[in-house]
Symmetry: C2
Subunit: 149 residues, 2 copies
Amino acid sequence: MARNNITHNAATKRLLDCGIKPSIQRVEIMNYLMTHFTHPTVEEVYTALCPKIRTLSRTTVYNTLRLFSERKAALMITIDEHRVCYDGDTHPHVHFYCKECGKVMDFMDESAPTMPAAIEIEGNLVDEMQLYYKGVCAECRQRMAAKVS
Amino acid sequence: MARNNITHNAATKRLLDCGIKPSIQRVEIMNYLMTHFTHPTVEEVYTALCPKIRTLSRTTVYNTLRLFSERKAALMITIDEHRVCYDGDTHPHVHFYCKECGKVMDFMDESAPTMPAAIEIEGNLVDEMQLYYKGVCAECRQRMAAKVS
DNA sequence: ATGGGTGCAAAGGATTTGCAACATT
DNA sequence: AATGTTGCAAATCCTTTGCACCCAT
């Protein structure tokens, strides 16, 4: 309980810092993002939180995650052609997408573009930069190598 | 006619270089990509080519563009959360996405990551790198500024 | 006649929309 | 009361799938 409160406080703080009113649903969703760096999809967040908030709807998860990314409380990741996912880690880092299994991983050591504030390029306002790597993850490579032999 | 042949020859050459058998549909689609750097979606390619190839189907456009990106004959761009688009320009450059109008633009001057060949990072095989910028384009900024006044 | 390529129709899945119910100030 | 938030159901839109046809080797 005490532990939960700690993380929930961090989630609430993040929301308030980003000018988002902390409803029960929003705090739970933000808390999930801040404790699960698995780049969850809407479906994953929805499924994970349903037992906790029994009336939760997918629509709310959609609305909330979109709001978070608009207010820069979380990052919307469009690396997967099939579905959007979200990242509660707002520090600059590179995302890697496995074309075989669809997994999204972090590459922390790589030189990710830093976005200190919005900049202007040829009249366009740029307020977000994301570097995506794509390929085949170690796990899938092993699996594929095993199949051939 | 002569002009058409020139570009079609370039398209055919690109396909052959990438190990793709040049059917009529594939050559036309590749030719479209190599003469329209507008980051077209499947729908746009389909609509543009329908008058020319009257039996063309969306399925073929889907299949073909996917094949192109798999064989690195074109680039699949996942910057837009709503739909995938494609780029016939395979030189490294940055893509900018306007969150207002959904337009995808090139930033050629920016330092895009270069991908000479596949590299390995922590056991993962990386064969593609894309840098995405997101924000509001010059046109939309003007339009929005005009509305306020 | 075999394999690859194409196209149609249907299915699938992710996301959005409209609207009513609800909570909070 | 007013405003913002939530949740349900339906709609929408993009993409994939299954299958039949067709073409070229």
